[in-house]
Amino acid sequence: MSRNAQFAKPGLALTAAVFYVLLSLSIKERHGYEILKYVEANSEGRVRLGPGTLYTTLKRMLDAGLISELIDRPDPENDDARRRYYKLSPRGRAELGAELGRMQHALKLAGKRRVQASS
């Protein structure tokens, strides 16, 4: 399987890291460190990415066409000339939507079956 085909099977769950990176970029364009901080904060510390894991994940997502590098710089106020910014691609948005749909379906199913998560 080539790198570009790794996300080719619809219906399969995304990894937690990929999901949170997609979620972070669905709001606005971000650079690597911003993504790293967003993922850690919004997963409540359950997903912690080091710089290596972060850029390995970003590379896979770039290769798969889920995200792309921003060529036009963001607003001058937010721009840091040294950094590379990433944005969500239409395919990435579709994958994120599909993942959220899967989660909603799972929650609905759990509600019907009266399954309760242990805290």
Binding site: M1, S2, R3, Q6, F7, K9, L12, L14, T15, A17, G32, Y33, L36, R48, L49, G50, P51, G52, T53, L54, Y55, T56, L58, K59, R60, D63, R82, R83, R84
Partner: protein
């Protein structure tokens, strides 16, 4: 733009980044170093946690990228299985190697070469003293050419190994 001197941690991390495959390093090396600098500058981020993250990276993304570089990305999948499987494999090798070595040592320790394993001279050669049922190291023995009667009126010599101790000077054994 002014350049400030690199901290020791940044230099160490720079060396670790240099260990990633060249294509990955060329694409993301600078960004990785910049992100590491951002982490060091973050007052809410304890240094121990930063280095723990780096260690996790080395056990995951580092091997994953080298594997991807070697296989052209064929082992990269949607799931984190290759990284997980790789970690398990590395851990298994790290745990199994000393265990296997210990098991071989234990097996050898139970076998007849035990005296060799226990001696302070590991390269000694031993001879079995059948009368006393014990192993005698060659270095405590001396070879003697002793006369022996081959037939009535015919004598020859035979080489005999005799254990030499303070109370036992080397001499040919008497005929039975």
């Amino acid at each position: 733009m002014t350049r400030r001197p690199l901290r020791l941690a940044e230099r160490v991390y720079g060396l670790l980044v240099d260990l990633y495959p060249k294509p990955f390093r060329e694409q993301f090396g600078w960004s990785m170093k910049q992100t590491f600098r951002d982490l060091l500058d973050d007052p809410d981020m304890p240094t121990s946690r930063i280095w723990l993250g780096v260690l996790r990276d080395l056990s995951g993304s580092f091997f994953q990228e080298h594997l991807a570089d070697l296989t052209g990305g064929r082992l990269m999948t949607r799931f984190p299985l290759p990284a997980g499987a790789l970690r398990v494999a590395v851990l298994a090798i790290l745990i199994a190697t000393p265990l296997a070595t210990g098991a071989v040592g234990y097996y050898l320790g139970r076998s007849q070469v035990q005296p060799v394993a226990e001696t302070a001279f590991p390269f000694d050669t031993f001879i079995l003293n059948r009368q006393e049922s014990r192993w005698v190291p060659m270095r405590t023995m001396e070879s003697l050419s002793c006369p022996v009667a081959i037939a009535p009126g015919v004598t020859g010599t035979v080489t005999v190994f005799v254990e030499v101790t303070g109370a036992n000077p080397p001499r040919c054994p008497s005929a039975p």
